[in-house]
Subunit: 213 residues, 2 copies
């Protein structure tokens, strides 16, 4: 039962592309299953044994691809930051930058948090080792996403769309707002999706006013 994932395409593709030993890219599958579990039952319900079982694989299989449970969560967070960066960048570019681009980034951020709430919770929920320093994904992956925002704001300042001043401070402010809004949305203080959308528009507009666009 549970069909050991008949994905045995032993693609002997070009050099070094090692894949499909026994199972067929377990790491990615496990990561996806972890996210799925968190989505449906919460972080607390995530168990290595459970992930293995769902994939028709024995418990310890995971240890060949992740150092431990924290590493798995860390991978979820990293994936989240990567996806977030892509979304932000996409929103910015689709609007061709400018003030509209900044607004779009804000909306995209919040939309990401709502749609990928599992990723988002892991990214910021400190479910990982909360010793806090070495384990934190912020400097590396988060930096990518945050960096996207900094660059955007910096661009707006140089093109005169935004007032001058410390671009890092402004970026931090924008980040704090969208993050705060995301938390409110995820934690259910904004009931309906319509509420979320309306408040998103409200907040994004206030940021523009506050930031001086």
């Amino acid at each position: 039962m549970l069909m050991p994932m008949p994905r045995k395409d032993t693609t002997k593709g070009p050099a070094g592309a090692r894949r499909a030993y026994h199972h067929g890219d377990l790491p990615r599958t496990m990561l996806a299953e972890a996210v799925r579990t968190i989505d449906r039952q919460g972080i607390a319900a995530l168990t290595l044994r459970g992930v293995g079982a769902k994939l028709g694989v024995s418990r310890n299989a995971l240890y060949r691809h992740f150092a431990n449970k924290d590493a798995l969560l860390l991978a979820v967070a990293a994936e989240g930051f990567r996806l977030l960066r892509v979304d932000l960048q996409g929103a910015w570019e689709q609007k061709g930058g400018g003030a509209l681009g900044l607004d779009a980034m804000g909306a995209a951020y919040i939309r990401f948090a709502v749609q990928h709430s599992s990723h988002y919770r892991v990214m910021f929920g400190r479910a990982l080792g909360e010793a806090g320093e070495a384990a934190s994904p912020d400097p590396s992956a988060s930096g990518d996403a945050f960096g996207t925002l900094v660059v955007a704001i910096d661009t707006l300042q140089r093109t005169g769309v935004l007032q001058g001043g410390d671009s890092l401070q402004l970026a931090r402010y924008a980040w704090a707002v969208v993050h705060g809004v995301s938390m409110l949305a995820i934690d259910g203080l904004l009931r309906t999706p319509a509420d979320v959308e309306e408040f998103t528009r409200f907040a994004v507009a206030r940021v523009r006013t506050g930031i001086g666009a």
Copy 2:
């Protein structure tokens, strides 16, 4: 070893004040110990056995005062919301309300999050049952703290200090900002206390601009 806490003051105070059966208000002591542990080792390191040991009391003693571990964390969160409400109210009143009062509330919020980061993480970290509905302390205790903010903003609108509009939206916005700033501060993206203070001033000022004071 571990001295069973020689706090046997059998205060037979006035009516009904039941206390000091065996230990001397274990519930409060346990709550404090839980916070202390989280402060020093993180939420993940909080264990019922550990709390019991530190208090010179066997593991299950806790179960006479809390339904389970989640209940203990819930109590921490509830205490946090209570303390936060007091701080916010105090800041508002000390400045005699007005725009200055609102600024003071913002600063007080962030200061609370930084100084009581353990409480704060539990309050918003979803370390509790993340099924999310029944367990959430938001409607009750958080409502108290959030309500303080709503009342303040409503007052400012009626006295003409603040522009009109949906006071609930404005309050949500302010909340989102200070929450976002708090997260940045707690997660170490603002290195020094001076950084935190500076960014707090910056953010509070932007909120005022954005909100239209």
